[in-house]
Each structure stands twice: as structure tokens, then as C-alpha cells.
Symmetry: C2
Subunit: 334 residues, 2 copies
DNA sequence: CTGAAAGCGCTTACAG
DNA sequence: CTGAAAGCGCTTACAG
């Protein structure tokens, strides 16, 4: 069953394709099409259920009304919640989202960028990894709107939206110290991305500013993508071998694994031992006791991303570069 | 900066567009293009970084290599995990995913189907709601591959993949009864979708088969989309007014809200009071005590969906209708 | 007030 | 072994 084309409508209405096109695109008034013709054509369109072929429209106009979203992993709740907000806001402005997960692979990320490029997406929202700087630079050189989020690529002159990871991490550690903690551990990952590095630097700086010597042995860097059981074992080893009175988990999935480890070795979270997770998660409020967490302002991040995209889309000229850093919020529970 | 077209490559290589097209599409041998020409053209393509315009290709060939995914809400962990698996498997077969969330709105669902239609997606994966039967029937009439998942539309003769919600619910209740529970509550939602109805029927039938009278007052149906606090209050009311020794939460977000309510009224989960959540969630294993859950076989569901899609895409003729029901697994914790 | 025609970047049947 | 040309379904500058 072939679907209807603009030609079919034109024939049925006994007018030209041009006229139908003008009506579809709301240019009827501007082109002074007569009321009678407008009504006739609109009636036929409504009755037939005709939908313009967006592919043809894209080929002709050069834009697709699709925004490409490249993230690490859609099943990670931080990304899925951001994706939801972005989708919603984009949708309201007439844009659809194509997403794809990179799994932190440089090759896959490059492939995805190429794929989106050949699909002529109108804009790119990317949570990037190191190693794709060149590819992003090419997108910029070609005049594409590009917004990085969550993590920045400092070598690039590109728009970026993200939380203030350094300060949020710093405040978390300061909070521990204010409670009198001295042996503060950090469980983080070994991926070399901006936001993880900033969280580490916030940790280190807060210790330093409070006169506490940084101790390498209190920092565990787990491999990205390793299975949870391995992470759990590493955390157990850490707590079994060291005397620790507070720990910051640098991501929510690390915190989930870490809490399981603490449960298994029966390490109680109480006045003598404090925990903060970076990025909130539904499990934390529910946990006994409740777990404090750094909340990134997802709504604000998503809104800012979309605003920047739209303004870049609007300005046909060289896109302005905006770097927006949004404060994160430390939520202390219990 | 305009990107390169096939014509630019043809000019540079001093051959025709046709020849370049054959080479790009791997038909060089078949069309007996000479080795020398193939090499020359491939070299130029590689050097120039030329990527064929997929929009033009789609317009010409009529397919897009894009699969449309319509779900309730990407930020719900059940859907985001399924989305991740589907994306991954589709990607390996050369397909990309466009997704959109319906938020259980019939209007939005209809809009999304139209949007995907005008984008000429090659296939549709839909977690449907009642009220869009006609729209789906139109897709089927037009010969589009359509797979429903999670929830079925029984009035339609369409392929479907989902867990055996009835039996999983039945077994959960049977498990309670085997432990000697008598006053078994169900917290569910008021959305009129197949999988929620089946979970309810499983509950009711298990009670009946065990000679326990169904009691309307032990069933709470919360409004879809209401805020969590309202749900929490309803659950509190239920437990404050009734004597209950077991509860099945029909979705994982209801369980999250419900567990918060139980915590607030200090209702302990122990030998005298049992809880099962439908759909697992990271919070449940971590909870004190751990919460039992029905696990849907996500991997198998995603794999089956993709297999059906591919087989429908392959068979140019009338697509076969397969309804695949996959057993779910009750994981008892503690 | 309306239409004929070019062109977006491809694929492919046909011709040689 | 290779190419000219039609056509996918639109939009839009130009003409009348």
C-alpha cells in the first residue's frame, strides 16, 4: 500500500503541487491563496490522512528536525532521566531525538557521530569522551550546533552545560570534615573523563584546605564496565584493610555496589561512619539509614541544553559558545 | 561548509555517479567494475571523509534503517533497560532507534505514530495503550512491521512479546499463601493496560484457587501520573485501616513509593509481613531487609523483539504474527 | 491568485 | 566494463 504524496492531493484538489505545499506549510496567506482553495485542500488532506514525507522535506530543506543525543548508557538512571527531560522539551519545540549509547568506546562514539552526520541531524547533544575531539571539531567547523553536557572537553571551544562537579565534591568532603571525620575514602572509576577528574580534584582540594594529608590508599579507582561483583570485592578490601570513617562514592552505580559491599561486611552507617553518593538514586532515600547524595539539577541542565540548541539553530551565523556551569545540591539525609 | 556529495566524488575520480554508487554499495564486483577504478574511488572516499547522505538514500530506496520505539517513559528503569538492550542489538544489525515517550497519553501516542510514519521508519516497537488500536491497524494495513511489547492489545492481530504477567502474579500470591498469609493486599494502578489487568487477574485467581475470598478493600488502585506523595498517603491509609500480612506491588515505582510509606509508618517487613515487587529494581536487593521481586527476562524480551522485527523486515510478503509469552521469574530474597 | 520547473543526493533499470 | 537519465517527494525562486 503506497502512501499518499503531495501530488495525489494536488490531483484530487485539482490544483498544483505548489499550492498544496504552500497550504501545508502555512504560507497560504502570505502567498495569497484564496480561501476557497485553502478550505478545499485542507478538507482533502484531513479526509485522506495525508502526512508529508519528512524524508523528502529534509532532503530539500537540508534540516531534519531531529536532534542527535549521544550518551554513555541510556540505562544509567542519570542519563535516562536527562534523556526524558530533553525529549520532552525538544518535542514541545517540534524536534525529535535519536539517541545512542557509546558505552565509553571511542570507536563507537566516532561511528555514532558519523551516523548522525549522514542522517543530517540538526544538532548534537553529546556527553563526550576523550579521543573524539577531532570529530567534534569537524562538526563545529561544518557549522553544526553542538552542546556537550555532563563532561567537558577542555581542549575544545564548544558550548557546554554541566554541574559544578568540583565544588559539589569539595562540599561533600567539607561536610565530612565538619562532622569530625579524618579518614575519608573515595571510590571512583578509572575513566579519564572531565567530570570524574573534577570530583577527584574536589576531594583532594578539600582535604588539603583542611590540613589533611592526601592518602592514595584511601582512593579506589574501579575499572569502568567491570562487573558489580568485582567492585563489591574491591570495596570490601578497602574497608577491611583500612580504618575509614567516611566515604564518597563518585557515581550512583558505584554507591549501589558499595552499599552492597558494606552490607555484606556488616559495616554500619551511623554517627561513626558517613556516606555520600554522587548523583542521587531512588535506592538512597529508601535505604536504612537514608543515604545523603549530591543531586544534579537535571531539569535545569536539560532546559539549558535545549535553550542553547535553539539559540544556535536560530542564529544562522557562527554559533556562540556558552559554557554554563550549574551548582549541584548536596542533600543530607537523616 | 557544504558536505561532499556523490557527485563531488565522481568528478574527482573522473568516473560517473553510477560507478561511485555501485562501489559504495558493495556492488562493484557484481557490476564488474575494474579493480583499478574500485581502488581509485575508495581511496578518494577515504581521503575526503565522504559519507553518503542517508536522507537521499532513504527517499530513493524507501527505507530508513531506523526503528521507531514508542514507550511509556524512558526514565522508568524497566523501559530504559529494555531500550538499552534493543538499541544495542539493533545497532549490531545496522539499525538505529528513534524513541519517544507517550506518558500514557493517547493523543501523544497517536502523534508519535504519525511522526514516525512521516519519517518512514522501517519498523515500530510499541508498548501500547488502549485507544490507539486503529492507528496500529493502519500501520499493519500499510505493511509495516509492528511489534508490541510489555502490554498487548487483544483486539488486534499483531505480533507481541511480553512476560507472562498473569502467572508471575499468580505465583507471587501463591508464594504468600504457602507462607500462611491470608490478608494479602495489592497496590496497583488504574491505567487500563493489558499487563496491569493480567497482574490483577493473577492476584484474584490465586486467591480464589486457594479458597480465599477476594476483598475489594485490600486492593488500592492509584492514579497513573499522580505524584509519589499521594501514593505514599494512599498506601499508609491502607495499612493503617486494614490488617495486612502480605502485599504485592504491581510495578516497581509503586513498590518504591510503598516502601517509603511502610518506612514512615514503621511497618516492619519480617516473618509476619511479606512484600513482593513486580519488576525488579536496584533498590530492592539493597533494602533492609531485601525485597523479593518478579524479574522480567529483559534480555530475552529484547532479543525476541529484534528477531521478530528482522524476520518481518526480511519477508516482503504479509508479515507473520507471532505472540511470544516469556515466563517471568520470582526472585525470593532473604 | 496560481503553476511549471529546477533541484536536494541518492539508486537502479536500461543501454551500449 | 561504464554512464546517462529517470525518479523518490518535497520546497521555492520565478513567471505570469
Amino acid at each position: 500500500m503506497k502512501s499518499l504524496s503531495i501530488k495525489d492531493i494536488a490531483v484530487k484538489a485539482n490544483v498544483s503541487i505548489t499550492t498544496v505545499s504552500f497550504i501545508i506549510n502555512g504560507k497560504a496567506k502570505e502567498k495569497s491563496i484564496s480561501e476557497a482553495v485553502i478550505e478545499k485542500v485542507e478538507k482533502i488532506i484531513a479526509e485522506s490522512g495525508y502526512k508529508p514525507n519528512q524524508i523528502a522535506r529534509s532532503l530539500r530543506t537540508g534540516n531534519s528536525n531531529i536532534i542527535g543525543l549521544i550518551i554513555e548508557d541510556i540505562s544509567n538512571s542519570f542519563f535516562s532521566r536527562i534523556a526524558r527531560l530533553i525529549e520532552d522539551k525538544a518535542y514541545k519545540r517540534g524536534y525529535k531525538i535519536i539517541y545512542s549509547s557509546t558505552e565509553n568506546s571511542v570507536d563507537k562514539a566516532k561511528e555514532l557521530i558519523n551516523m548522525f552526520k549522514s542522517r543530517k541531524v540538526d544538532a548534537y547533544i553529546i556527553s563526550p569522551i576523550k579521543g573524539i575531539e577531532e570529530d567534534i571539531q569537524m562538526l563545529l567547523d561544518d557549522g553544526n550546533p553542538v552542546i556537550l553536557f555532563d563532561r567537558n572537553l577542555p581542549d575544545l571551544n564548544v558550548s557546554y552545560v554541566g554541574a559544578d562537579h568540583f565544588n559539589a565534591s569539595y562540599q561533600s568532603i567539607q561536610n565530612f570534615i565538619d562532622q569530625g571525620k579524618k579518614n575519608i575514602a573515595l571510590v571512583t572509576t578509572d575513566i579519564n573523563v572531565e567530570q570524574i577528574i573534577e570530583r577527584f580534584e574536589g576531594y583532594r582540594k578539600a582535604l588539603e584546605d583542611n590540613g589533611i594529608t592526601y592518602n592514595d590508599e584511601l582512593v579506589v579507582k574501579v575499572h569502568f564496565n567491570q562487573d558489580e561483583q568485582t567492585t563489591i570485592n574491591q570495596v570490601k578490601d578497602l574497608f577491611n584493610s583500612k580504618n575509614i570513617d567516611a566515604v564518597l562514592f563518585a557515581t550512583n552505580y558505584l554507591a549501589i555496589g558499595g552499599l552492597k559491599a558494606l552490607k555484606q561486611i556488616n559495616k554500619k552507617i551511623d554517627d561513626d561512619f558517613a556516606v555520600i553518593a554522587y548523583d542521587d538514586h531512588e535506592a538512597f532515600e529508601l535505604h536504612t539509614p537514608s543515604i545523603s547524595a549530591v543531586q544534579q539539577p537535571l531539569e535545569e541542565i536539560a532546559e539549558t541544553i535545549i535553550k542553547l540548541i535553539l539559540s544556535q539553530l536560530a542564529s544562522k551565523s557562527k554559533s556562540p559558545v556558552d559554557q554554563v556551569i550549574i551548582p549541584a545540591r548536596l542533600v543530607i539525609r537523616d
